[in-house]
Amino acid sequence: MATQKKQILNKTYILSGLIVLFAVAIIYKLIEIQFVHGDDYRSLAEQNTVKTFEIKANRGNVYTADGSLLATSISKFDVRMDPISVSDKDFEKGIRELSKSLSKMLGKSAGFYENSIRKARANKNRYLFITRNLSFNEYQELKKFPIFKLGTYKGGLIIEQRTVREHPIGKMAERAVGFDDYRGKVGIEGYFYEYLRGKNGQRLKQKIAKGQWKPISDNNEIEPIDGRDVITTIDLKIQDIAHYALLEQLEKFDAEHGTVVVMETQTGEIKAISNLGKTKKGTYSARRNYAVWESHEPGSTFKLMGMVVALEDKVIDTSQIIDTENGVISFYKRKVRDSHRGGYGKISAARVFEVSSNVGMVKIINDHYKDNPKKFIDGLNRMSIGKKLGLSIKGEGNPVIPNPDDKDNWNGLSLPWMAYGYGVSFTPLQILTFYNAIANNGEMVKPQFIKEIRTQSNSITTFDKEVINPKICSQETIDKVKVMMQNVVKRGTAENIYNDNFSMAGKTGTCQTDYWKESGTKYISSFVGYFPADNPKYSCIVVIHKPDKKIGYYGNIVAGPVFNKIAHKIYSETPVQDEIILKNELVSFDKNYEKYYKKVNTNYKSMPNVKNMSGMDAIPLLENLGFSVNAKGNGKVKEQSVKAGSKVKKGTEIVLNLS
């Protein structure tokens, strides 16, 4: 064939030329990718590899007026395990100890944990549930357990962290505190969510292998701003009293639900609010904010409004005699009855109020306003009770006062029915606000739930007293109705809660409800008032819905005692200077202290007798004498290891058994 070098070289040059062309094609392609499709690919790169991560801002806390936590966010930890990722050696070495440690912390037997972990390992379950809702401290401890201390990859420990909202004081004001989550925005949490939530921050992260993300720069792109703290007006002590007083009564009367609100007379600050409803299990828990939301026919508690209007208009006077006849009066074939069978006969207008005579009240209002019902309605509206309060808590119910111009909803029965609290509708808080205005000498203040919004160091906003109506009626009228309300407790419908030492004023209400239903009439029992009667400090409303009729349903029986208990407890447990009330208790307390003081100051030469002393007193007493004390148990001293009177050297150990 005679291969010539020339031929080889020629072909080589051609080949080289082709390779150079190929190189040109490559460069062309490079340029095409970078310049023609460059933006597409670059944005794809960003989409695939750069992501903005949200950094959750810490939610603010909700505090009581005295700084106790009502709601705060804390981290909870759920624990799972991947037993497969643990090596055989580590597994066999640590499984026993791990099971024991788990058993100690979580309660179930060590065998249970060992079994379930071994089973998961055999069944290749890589997501074995261990426990949930561990606190941070428990989680720190759990991390140190055998096997788990090897970490996620070698120890199979899987931790899932959640932030949950906790209410450290439990269910007491849960409904008023409310929530702001998937369920919606409710209560203080819901209303002040803008302050509480804060602003989430942002951080750009870049994807790296294994599905991990690393931050691109040292700082967050947007720093998160933590939520503000909300200081409520709630007083933990009063809240505690109100909650348990209500709960006890609800249970006693097997009622459907109930609410209690305690308000500071001068400022309108809500010191306690409790809403409890019966659950399916028959227990009570905070279900809805009845005090704010539930607008219902108030019944007899509304008689105060009617009485005030009538007195203001001077159509009657307290001493005017009203004939309540025999306790029954008919309107358009419908009857108004007094709860007291047979009626009260001829009594004064004030007495009508004290005994809560329906007939009497209907007569007072109907006789004087039936020709001009508008005048009565205007009288009511003048006192600012026809409008919502504009609360800082969401979901306030609408007050309803019928209007005589509205012919569809007004008939001959409207006025007489209204006189004793039917055909109108108010929320418990609206009723309370009116009573509070009377207690506050006519100045109607808005119920206040929030004192202050603050960051950890700075106050952002403070909320001052808000006046709705500086004077709802004349002082003369106020003085009159105040006396009437005081007499309600002294000798009227709420006689049963009267106490010599302590003055209260208020009005009972026993309102029929569900009277339109076939299931039969049920009752709403209420009591609203203020205390002390002569210098009101707090006003309070108690409303209990649908108590068991067999046990009782009158306002003075069902709701009255709750009011009484709250009033008393507040006065015996909060340091208000009211000597008359505290006299007895102070005396006994002083006596005790004197005895102790004497004991402490005696220069003992021998072992003193500490039996029946409280441990709290006995231990410092003995320690001051130079003994070393070893106390067992809690409470009062039952036994002392060295007999009283025997001589003991300093430094001797004395064992006290307390119980």
Binding site: M1, A2, T12, I33, Q34, T49
Partner: protein
Amino acid sequence: MKQLLANIKGDKTIWAIIAVLAIFSFLPVYSSSTNLVYVTGKGTTFGYLIKHAILILLGFVIVYATHKIPYKYFSGLSVLLMPVVVLLLIFTMTQGTVISGANASRWIQIPFVGMGFQTSTLAVVVVMMFVARYLARNRDKQIIFKESILYLWLPVAIILMLILPANFSTTAIAFVMVMLLVFLGGYPIKYIMYILGMAVLVFAIFLLTAKAFPDVIKNTRIQTWSSRIENFSSGESENNYQAEKAKIAIASGEINGKGPGKSVQKNFLPQSSSDFIYAIIVEEFGLIGAILIVLLYLGLLFRIVIITTKTDTIFGTLLALGVGIPIIFQAFINIAVAVGLFPVTGQPLPLISTGGTSIWMTCFAIGVVLSISVANKEKVKESNEDIELENPLDILHEAVG
């Protein structure tokens, strides 16, 4: 050092190019090792750097040693190495390495060192030398087809068939290289057509048997090959994950690049230190770096062509082309894969990618080319073509003597 430099002979430009490539290779290799360490959780980035340094150093020892051997000996060496390569390939096939369920036995362990060695890479170089030898020996004769079947194609076919099951792309490229070389070497075009036809036939039979009797030829990577080619032609994005990531890397590099070590796509590109290293280079060093690399390989090609031009012997010419051109081809195929001109093949980028075998065999080939250039410079006309030894065993005598 001076003495070492004095001992370096042959084409200085080639020395310079391979030195630049080798030194440059540390940057992308080090950069992409971060991801490798993170994903596997084994070793350290510094460890990878040291390993690469050792491989490169050994590579240069190979270049140096090879270029000292007068190129005439490679003729006989190729014949001697053919049976060795066959044995090694058979041994490799028994290793049973598996890539995602398919047979991918490409590696044997080098005893004591603990490194893998890809026998097919060695086989390709040996086959090229063998073909060059055959063509040079028959330069004056009328080639008889049947004879060439026996003395040329049968040994070549045996080796290629042994590589085929585990590594289709290497086989295909090797086959193309051989065909190119025989074309350059004056093998009649008519016969080339016959061989092409036969090769297609053999490959078709192989495919059919593999599909018809999956039990007979177990675990072949036929599935992988066909899906790769299908994906390339249909452009399905789901299966073209790597190709897309490579393009994203190239596009993000822009003109100046992100700077050494700052590649993002290395985290998502499998084989970022080998098959897709070019994409990483473009991302980190930009269009400028990309074109420079292409120019370096073109420079290498240019020098190889110069050497072939200057060589007096046909064997020298064909040997230089036979071992030199595949380096350039491999480089451009690797780059073509990265830019999306070629389906994903898994060819390393010569002298830059990690991987001992690739570096060493490239160095060996460069050494051979340099050896030819040494002969050119010294103008030692070893009494012309007859020097090409008739008896391959003579090489042993010479080596001993």
